[in-house]
Symmetry: C2
Subunit: 192 residues, 2 copies
DNA sequence: TCATTTGCCTAAAGGTTTTAGGTTTTTGCA
DNA sequence: TGCAAAAACCTAAAACCTTTAGGCAAATGA
């Protein structure tokens, strides 16, 4: 049948997009391959291992798309391109996006997952090159960017923005504008 | 034994803080009460119903704390107070905080949950009274605020900020400063 | 007093996780 | 070519979670 850890992770990612990440189960995956459940345990340590593998696939894929979007752009263009990648990835692959935020409870992170995470923060730092920020403001700004992107996308996905006008799609570019404007005039350290 | 939906929700919230929201299970809760599992099904429709009840408890509790923090404050003070409530709630009650973001997949939301959600957005809107924003900027700003608060707190909780200096606690006040500054100078509509 | 409701129980069916051990096929090497 | 070892998948079984069905006993209230 040609199963492997890699193959299971990719199939699991597809399954996550179809039924939701928390519905992804070793059993469901075995069913999809028309194979006995126990067979998967040769390729995957346990259920959590499977989830971490899916998370790694998703985080890496997202980093690839982010890198492609940021390449050759700077300043506001780069900021918008990066933000749009996160948002559209979450929209087209909700299960994968949820997976990408799955940090194993046992704090036993794979090196590959950590590396993908590092790529993300480096891409944000690259975007910030178009603005004039020194340390520690640059780190603060990376964290702000991550928070806004992740927060907006998560809230939108969970339907939190569906109760008010205008559509969540309309706020997004204006929020990116606001962040761009903020980065261009990052405030000095407030006394007290 | 004096069980009830209310009581189970509160006990479930405590359990969530101890073992994590996704480890909260009807069985575990029954064990905690020293009672047979099936007994809980008189008070709770099913496992998802239990989770929604816990989510409602958490979202309401958080709204209460937020309201208390914002009362009597305006402008930057109110902004910082509100943000700090979210962050400290998530720190001291990680399970409850996670629960508060649990929207039932079946899109069958309880009225109480929706009401608590509305209180949150109204509190943010109240904070924005200290700044000079008209529609639709006010709605955009509410969404930005929600994104930053939720995003930062989530990323911090999941350990995403633990890989770089300075500590995540140091970035937080500077980010609130930045948001305050942004709200005071919210940009005009960018011409494409 | 007695019928009803309430609250918890036993029993049982079905699903997921994980381990243990078996069989068959593939692979690599002498 | 022939064979030993590894790889891939299987059956069996134990443990736990979810949910439904039906029972008993105590509290309630007319």
């Amino acid at each position: 049948m040609g199963l492997s850890g890699e193959r299971l992770a990719r199939a699991g990612a597809e399954l996550a997009d179809e039924v939701g990440f928390d519905q992804v189960t070793v059993s469901a995956l075995a069913r999809r391959f028309g194979v006995q459940v126990a067979s998967l345990y040769s390729h995957v340590r346990n259920s959590d291992d499977l989830k971490v593998r899916i998370a790694t696939v998703a985080l890496t894929e997202l980093a690839d798309q982010a890198a492609a979007a940021v390449a050759g752009r700077a300043g506001r263009d780069a900021l918008v391109a990066l933000g749009d990648v996160y948002r559209s990835y979450a929209t087209t692959h909700p299960g994968r996006y949820t997976a990408s935020r799955y940090a194993p409870p046992t704090s036993v992170l794979g090196a590959e997952f950590v590396a993908a995470g590092k790529r993300h923060s480096e891409l944000m730092r690259a975007v910030l090159r178009g603005y004039d920020l020194d340390e520690p403001a640059a780190t603060d700004a990376v964290r702000l960017l991550g928070s806004v992107f992740h927060g907006y996308v998560t809230l939108e996905l969970s339907g939190s923005f569906s109760y008010s006008e205008p559509s969540s799609g309309a706020s997004w570019p204006r929020i990116l504008d606001a962040i761009d404007s903020l980065l261009r005039t990052w405030p000095e350290r407030h006394s007290s």
